[in-house]
């Protein structure tokens, strides 16, 4: 029997609130299906299931108190297991209700599983059904104008979560920092030509080239795409990049762009647009908060020249990009004005050394000199 637990959406998360179930006992689920909504300090998230099977039991009622990370919320029977719940068609029989209540509920098509019970031993009474009928009638007269909004991050809660994660990072991770300047002439010229040939809705932003180059560099220096777990680095099998997205109410979230090394630039632009939009709308999936092996933060829009970030544990590196600005650049004995980017690496000295970090930045630079190959 598989267990569906309150997930940890980061080293800083201690608990969460179950907002709603999207399934009921007896429902078939497959890996990746969203079965619950939860609320954390970072906002509301959809939570997927990680195994195929049949929902056996829902162990926690939605809307209650904060539930510690790791608490079993539901059990899922695999195809070969016999679910312990009563078969779906007999679900109602498990619900305690008086005969009169059942009769009235049936007459008014009231779903007993959705009625609050006030009787002895949790039984539904006739009065409970009458209340449910009144509520249903009221909803018919005044239908809700829109489904309830999923909770978004409160500025205070988000600040608390960031504070916890960053304090942990600075306490436990011995950071080292490296920086390099990258001539972006070729990359920007290539991007300009690409954008000239595409309608505005398909154009690329420079950060897309930076993300792709970072992903390809990580395939060559995989030690930086890793988690520090139990005193040793564990290299991540996929190149999932956490992309820092600033929220309009303040704070930031770093959801993951999946398999960035395998995406074309157009696919990456589309994936990034979708991710940023959903992050700001509070519509992220829980797995998107936990699957990044490294974080990229780009503050160039704000005119920042260099970014010296704090690594998000258990990751072992963070790449920062500043503003691409015209600066004097010497090459072949001549000085000219070029669009220059300062790229920085914050890395965990327990997992890597400066030599490796320097190789990463050098690889990144080389990749950006051949944008057509990204």
């Amino acid at each position: 029997m598989a267990e569906f637990i309150m997930p940890s959406l980061g080293a800083d998360m201690k608990n969460g609130i179950l907002v709603d179930w999207r399934v009921k006992p007896g429902d078939q689920v497959k890996r990746g299906d969203i079965i619950a909504d939860i609320e954390t300090d970072k906002g509301g998230f959809e939570v997927e299931v990680y195994s195929d099977g049949v929902i056996d039991r829902l162990l926690v009622e939605p809307g209650g108190d904060k539930i510690p990370v790791g608490t079993v919320l539901a059990t899922i029977a695999s195809a070969t297991e016999q679910p312990t719940f009563a078969p779906a068609q007999s679900t109602e029989r498990r619900i305690k209700a008086s005969p009169a209540a059942r009769k009235l509920a049936a007459e008014h098509q009231i779903d007993l599983s959705r009625v609050s019970a006030s009787g002895a031993g949790g039984a539904i009474t006739l009065a409970d059904i009458e209340t449910a009928i009144k509520t249903a009638t009221q909803e018919q007269i005044n239908p809700p104008s829109a489904p309830p909004e999923r909770p978004k991050a409160s500025a205070e809660g988000l600040r608390k979560a960031i504070a916890a994660a960053m304090s942990l990072a600075n306490r436990e991770i011995p950071h080292y920092y490296l920086a390099t300047e990258i001539d972006m002439s070729r990359a920007l010229a290539w991007q300009e030509e690409y954008n000239r040939q595409h309608p505005i809705s398909e154009r690329l932003l420079p950060v897309v080239l930076l993300l792709k180059a970072t992903a390809l560099a990580l395939t060559r220096i995989p030690e930086l795409n890793a988690y520090w777990v139990d005193g040793k680095p564990v290299i991540r099998p996929e190149v999932n990049i956490g992309f820092a997205v600033a929220l309009r109410g303040g704070g930031l979230i770093t959801p993951a762009l999946a398999n960035v090394d395998r995406l074309s630039l157009a696919q990456l632009m589309s994936a990034m647009s979708d991710l940023i939009s959903r992050t700001r709308a509070g519509k992220l999936r829980a797995s998107e908060l936990t699957s990044a092996g490294i974080t990229v933060t780009s503050l160039g829009d704000l005119g920042v020249r260099s970014v010296f970030g704090v690594i998000y544990p258990p990751q072992v590196a963070l790449v920062g990009f500043g503003r691409i600005s015209e600066r004097p650049w010497a090459e072949n004995g001549a000085i000219s004005a070029r669009p220059i980017l300062t790229a920085t690496l914050a890395a965990d000295h327990r997992a890597s050394d400066g030599h490796l970090g320097a190789r990463f930045l050098d690889t990144l630079d080389k990749l950006l000199q051949e944008p057509e190959k990204l």
Partner: protein
Amino acid sequence: MTEADIRTLIFEIIVQIAPEIDSADISATENLREELDIDSFDFLKLLIALSEQLSIEIPEQDYERLISLNDLVTYLKDRLSENKT
């Protein structure tokens, strides 16, 4: 389409991108991105929406001319006029 119509359309799109912004607070002459505190992604979203709703092309090389709200309104008005002729 008048300048006022264009301005209204811009505000309608801005409200979707930055819901907390009061259009009355937007200076017509200051840097729009700074006024709205939006990044390059949201600015591109604004231009995509304008391009689609007004059925005009906005070449990338023109982005640097679109600094303030007034710049944007004037630019869009000119582009719409070009489309007519």
